[in-house]
C-alpha cells in the first residue's frame, strides 16, 4: 500500500457559518460567512489561495453544477475550482481534493469548502430526488432517508437478538447527548436540551425512529485552508499544528444490494474506510487511541451502529456503551461534542468540513471549558452518504503535530 498522506498536510485555518434556518441568506452568504472566519484564522489573503474544491450535494437547490458558484461568490482570482459531489461525504471529498493537491506538491495553499442550502426545498426532510439514477427510481421504493436508515435497527436487532426496546433506549440516549452538547454550541441549529422521555415519546417518522432520532435539515457552510506543515509553521511559528493523519473513502461495490452476505446491521464501507484509516494513521487500538469522534449521526441508529463499524464498541456492545455514557462529552470517547448532525444540523455538502472544524478547534483547545473534550488525543470524523445498502463512507483523522 502506498504511504498515504499522513502528516503531509496541515490545516492552516478553518471557518464555519452558523447553521440553521437561514431564510434570509443565499448559499453565497453562507460561503462568505465561513470564508471570513477561515481567512482570518489562516492569516492569509485571498490571493494566496492557489486552488479550491467545493463540496455540494443537492446542486439544483444550492449552487448548480461545476465550480463557478464558489469562484463567483468569493471572486477567487481565476484559479482552478472543482465542485465535488459524493453524497453526505461531499465536504470531506472537497477536503480530500485540497489535501491531495497539497500533498502532491501541485499547490501550496488550497481552499476546501462545503455548502448546502436545504431550507429552500419547501418541506421537511430532504427533497425527493433520484439519487441513484432513473432506473433505481423504477425498482426501489419511494423511500425517504429516515426510512432507509431505520432499517439498520430491525436488522441489528435480529442479528444480535437485542430487543427493540433496548435499541430504542440506546438511540434515545444518543439524541439526548447530542442535544446536551448542541445546547452549548452557539453555531448549532438546535440548541435546546430535551429529556430522554421527550425523545422516546416523539411521533414515529420511520419505525423505530421518532422525530428526535432525526438530524436537523439545515443551511450552512464550512471551510478549511490547508497547506504543507512547513508552510504552516512559517505562518504560525511556535503554535501547535493540526495535521491530517489519515483520509480514506470507501464506496459500496453493489455487494450490499445485490449479493446476499450483508446482514444490514452495519455499514461495509465504514468498516473498510476505518480499517484503511487506522492503518494510515498507525492506530492499533482505536478504542484507546482516539479521544473524540464526529460521526455521521444522520439518525440516532446510524450513530449506534457506526460505533461498532469504527471498531470502538465490540460487536453487539454499542447499546451498552452508549447507555453507560462512554460516548458522552465527559466519557472516554466523546462523540458529537458539537451536537453532531443531530443538533449542529446537516447541510449535506458542508457537514464533513463542519466535523473537521469541531475536531480542529477541540485539538487547539479553543472552546470554553464546559464544552471541551477531556482528553482529545486523536480526533476522527466520519461521513456516510447515500443509504445503508448503497453508500459512501469517509473517514478523516486529525491530530496535533
Amino acid at each position: 500500500m502506498a504511504a498515504g498522506i499522513r502528516d503531509k498536510v496541515a490545516v492552516l485555518g478553518m471557518g464555519c457559518s452558523v447553521f440553521g434556518e437561514r431564510w434570509e441568506d443565499d448559499s453565497s452568504d453562507l460561503l462568505i460567512e465561513a470564508f471570513l472566519e477561515c481567512l482570518d484564522d489562516a492569516g492569509i489573503e485571498k490571493k494566496d489561495i492557489q486552488a479550491a474544491w467545493i463540496g455540494n450535494h443537492i446542486d439544483e437547490i444550492s449552487i448548480g453544477k461545476g465550480g463557478c458558484y464558489l469562484a463567483n461568490a468569493l471572486h477567487l482570482p481565476l484559479i482552478p475550482v472543482t465542485r465535488v459531489e459524493n453524497f453526505c461525504a461531499s465536504g470531506t471529498e472537497a477536503f480530500r481534493g485540497a489535501c491531495y493537491a497539497v500533498a502532491s506538491g501541485a499547490y501550496d495553499i488550497v481552499l476546501a469548502a462545503g455548502v448546502e442550502k436545504l431550507k429552500d426545498v419547501g418541506y421537511g426532510g430532504l427533497p425527493d430526488s433520484p439519487i441513484f439514477g432513473q432506473l433505481s427510481r423504477l425498482l426501489s421504493p419511494n423511500a425517504t432517508a429516515p426510512g432507509m436508515f431505520a432499517q439498520l435497527a430491525t436488522a441489528y436487532s435480529a442479528k444480535h437478538d437485542i430487543p427493540m426496546e433496548k435499541i430504542k433506549q440506546a438511540i434515545t440516549h444518543i439524541s439526548w447527548k447530542s442535544h446536551q452538547n448542541g445546547a452549548k454550541n452557539p453555531k448549532a441549529h438546535l440548541r435546546k436540551e430535551i429529556s430522554e422521555m421527550q425523545i422516546a415519546d416523539s411521533p414515529f417518522v420511520a419505525y423505530p425512529l421518532g422525530l428526535f432520532d432525526c438530524c436537523g435539515v439545515s443551511d450552512g457552510s464550512a471551510m478549511a485552508i490547508v497547506t504543507t506543515p512547513e508552510i504552516a509553521a512559517n505562518f504560525k511559528p511556535n503554535q501547535s499544528l493540526v495535521k491530517v493523519k489519515a483520509l480514506q473513502i470507501s464506496v459500496s461495490s453493489g455487494e450490499e444490494l445485490s449479493y446476499n452476505q450483508w446482514d444490514g446491521s452495519g455499514l461495509l464501507t465504514t468498516r473498510q474506510a476505518a480499517k484503511l484509516a487506522y492503518k494510515e494513521a498507525g492506530i492499533k487500538n482505536p478504542r484507546e487511541e482516539i479521544g473524540m469522534i464526529e460521526v455521521h449521526d444522520c439518525f440516532s441508529i446510524t450513530e449506534m451502529v457506526t460505533m461498532e463499524d469504527l471498531q470502538i464498541s465490540p460487536p453487539g456492545q454499542a447499546p451498552d456503551d452508549i447507555i453507560d455514557g462512554f460516548y458522552d462529552l465527559d466519557g472516554q470517547v466523546a462523540s458529537q461534542p458539537d451536537g453532531g448532525l443531530k443538533c449542529f444540523g446537516h447541510p449535506i455538502g458542508a457537514s464533513g468540513l463542519r466535523m473537521l472544524y469541531e475536531i480542529y478547534n477541540q485539538l487547539l483547545r479553543r472552546w470554553p471549558e464546559d464544552r471541551l473534550v477531556k482528553d482529545p488525543k486523536l480526533g476522527l470524523t466520519h461521513n456516510l452518504g447515500g443509504v445503508p445498502s448503497q453508500n459512501v463512507a469517509s473517514i478523516c483523522i486529525l491530530g496535533l503535530d
Binding site: 418541506y123 423504477l138 421504493p141 426510512g147 430491525t154 414515529f204 420511520a206 461495490s253 444490514g264
Partner: protein
C-alpha cells in the same frame, strides 16, 4: 382435438368494505341504497388496478406451467388503464410470457371477458397455437352514494386455454349482440350512467339471460337440467331468483354470484364465477357460462378426468378468505381519486417515465428477470454483467432467471410516515430472493405488525407510481408477507 381450460384462477383483492359502511356514510343522500347494503364490496388496494389484478390471477393460473408456453394473451376490461398502449402486453410481460406471442385487449362491454375467452379458445382450436391465456378484470367505480358504488366490486380471473391437460373441454357457444343501452360510460366519463333500474332488470337481465341460455341449449340439443352449473351475472337478487324460477334452474345448479363476498366484477365476473365453479367440479359435469352486456355470450364446457389432478388448488376461495376490512370509507374515496387529498409536496415530484430506459430494462422490470453467474452460480438481482460475488467478478457469464414467481425473505424493514403515498405509512425493506439476489422494495397488503426479519414474502405486481401530468401508470413488483389463510 380436445380444447379447453387447463388451468384457472380468480383474484379478489384483500380489502373489503362492508356495504353497511357505505350506507352509513351515504344513506343520507340516497336511502334506497339500503336495498344493496348486505355483504362486502371487494376493493382494490391503492396500488391495484385492472392490470395488476389480471396479473395476480394470471400468476396463480400459471403456477406449475411454463409462462414461455403461452402463445396468445387476451385481456378484457372496461377499466384498462391505457387507451393506447396495449394493456395485454403489460400483463404478458409481467407473466414472463415471452415476446413472440399474440396479444389483444378486449373492451367496450362487460361481455368482453367471455369475448376474450372465446378468442383464446378459437386461437387454440384453430391450431394457431397450443396455449392461450384469457384474463379479465375490472375496477369500476360508481358515483358516491349510487347503487353502482354499492354493487360493483373489484376482481380478476385468468384461464389457461390449451389442447393439453384439459380439465374442462369447450363444447360450444351461442352469442347475441344487441345495442341495448341499460347503462353506458362515454369516453370522458369516470362513472357509469344508467337508465331506470326496472328497465335494466325487466328488459335486460330478465330477457337476455334466458334467451342466451335457451339459445345455447337449442344449438346443442341440451336441456337446462343437463348442466351441473349455470353461471351468469345479475346483481339484482330478485331478478336472479325470477330467472332461476322461470328457467327451472335448480338451486344446486346455481353458482354463487359472489355478491356477498366481492360484488359485480364486470368483465371478470363470469370468468371468476367459472373459476369458482371449477374448484368443486367433477368429471362429466356440464357447465354453462353466460356473460351479460349489450348482448350475451353463452359458453358450454364439460369437465374431464383431469380435474382430479387439480383438486388441491383451490383459488377463488383462498382469495375470498384472505380479507381485511377497509374500515375507512374516505380511504376508498381517496384511493379512487373521488376525494382530493393532500399527500404533501413529496407527492408532487416529477414522475416522468423515460421509456427508452424502461425498454432496455423491460425484463428486469416486468418479470423481475435477474441473472445467474455461470462461473460461480450466484443468482443476482438487479441483473448484472459483472458478477457481484466479490470472490468471482466474472464478466458477461450470465444467464437470465425470472424471480417474480419465487419467494423472498425479509432482511430489514421499516414503516415510513414521511414518504408520499396514498396509503401511509409506506412500508418497505430489503428482501432476499429465494436462491439469491436482493432488492429494497415496497411492501403492500400488510401492516408493520405483520413483519419480522426472516419471514417469507411473495411478490405481487402493483402500481409503482402514477404520473397524472402525462397520464402514465407505471408498474413494478412489491413484497407481500406470506400468510397462512385459514
Amino acid at each position: 382435438m380436445l380444447v379447453g381450460i387447463s388451468s384457472f384462477a380468480g383474484y379478489i383483492p384483500r380489502y373489503r368494505i362492508n356495504r353497511m359502511q357505505i350506507f352509513s356514510a351515504m344513506g343520507w343522500l340516497n336511502p334506497a341504497i339500503i336495498m344493496n347494503a348486505a355483504g362486502d364490496k371487494a376493493v382494490a388496494n391503492y396500488d391495484e388496478d385492472s392490470i395488476t389484478m389480471a396479473v395476480a390471477a394470471g400468476m396463480k393460473c400459471m403456477q406449475g406451467f411454463n409462462p414461455a408456453d403461452i402463445e396468445a394473451l387476451y385481456f378484457a376490461s372496461t377499466t384498462a388503464p391505457y387507451r393506447e398502449r396495449q394493456n395485454a402486453n403489460i400483463i404478458s410481460g409481467a407473466l414472463a410470457a415471452g415476446e413472440t406471442i399474440r396479444t389483444a385487449d378486449f373492451s367496450g362491454s362487460v361481455k368482453s371477458g367471455t369475448a376474450a375467452l372465446l378468442s383464446a379458445i378459437e386461437f387454440v382450436a384453430s391450431g394457431s397455437g397450443r396455449n392461450a391465456m384469457a384474463c379479465a378484470s375490472d375496477c369500476r367505480i360508481g358515483k358516491v352514494g349510487s347503487v353502482q358504488e354499492m354493487v360493483f366490486g373489484d376482481g380478476g380471473a385468468a384461464l389457461l386455454i390449451s389442447c393439453e391437460n384439459v380439465l374442462a373441454e369447450f363444447k360450444g357457444a351461442f352469442s347475441m349482440a344487441c345495442d341495448f343501452v341499460d347503462h353506458l360510460r362515454g369516453e370522458n366519463s369516470k362513472y357509469d350512467r344508467q337508465w331506470e333500474e326496472r328497465w335494466i332488470r325487466d328488459m335486460g337481465y330478465d330477457r337476455f339471460i334466458p334467451q342466451a341460455i335457451q339459445g345455447l341449449c337449442d344449438k346443442y340439443s341440451l336441456q337446462i337440467a343437463d348442466f351441473k352449473k349455470v353461471i351468469y351475472p345479475c346483481y339484482y337478487g330478485g331478478a336472479r331468483k325470477n330467472i332461476n324460477r322461470r328457467l327451472k334452474i335448480d338451486s344446486e345448479q346455481v353458482q354463487d354470484d359472489l355478491m356477498m363476498d366481492a360484488g359485480d366484477t364486470g368483465s371478470a365476473h363470469p370468468l371468476l364465477m367459472l373459476a369458482a365453479s371449477l374448484e368443486d367440479a367433477s368429471p362429466g359435469d356440464k357447465i354453462a357460462v353466460i356473460s351479460y352486456g349489450n348482448g350475451c355470450d353463452a359458453l358450454y364446457f364439460e369437465v374431464t378426468g383431469e380435474i382430479e389432478n387439480y383438486k388441491n388448488r383451490l383459488r377463488v376461495t383462498d382469495s375470498i378468505r384472505n380479507r381485511q376490512d377497509l374500515d375507512n370509507f374516505q380511504k376508498y374515496l381517496a384511493w379512487r381519486e373521488m376525494l382530493p387529498v393532500e399527500i404533501g409536496m413529496r407527492g408532487e415530484e416529477e414522475r416522468l417515465t423515460r421509456w427508452s430506459l424502461v425498454w432496455r430494462n423491460r425484463k428486469a422490470i416486468s418479470s423481475m428477470q435477474g441473472t445467474k453467474c455461470l462461473a460461480c452460480g450466484t443468482q443476482q438481482y438487479p441483473p448484472q454483467r459483472v458478477c457481484v460475488n466479490p470472490e468471482c467478478g466474472a464478466i458477461d457469464q450470465m444467464v437470465p432467471i425470472i424471480l417474480s414467481g419465487k419467494t423472498g425473505k425479509i432482511v430489514s424493514f421499516t414503516s415510513d410516515m414521511l414518504a408520499a403515498t396514498l396509503n401511509p405509512p409506506a412500508i418497505y425493506g430489503n428482501i432476499d430472493f429465494e436462491g439469491g439476489g436482493r432488492l429494497m422494495m415496497d411492501f403492500t397488503d400488510c401492516v408493520l405488525e405483520d413483519l419480522k426479519v426472516g419471514i417469507k414474502v411473495n411478490f405481487s405486481f402493483r402500481i409503482k407510481y402514477v404520473d397524472p401530468k402525462r397520464d402514465t401508470t407505471f408498474y413494478f413488483w412489491k413484497a407481500v408477507p406470506a400468510k397462512e389463510v385459514s
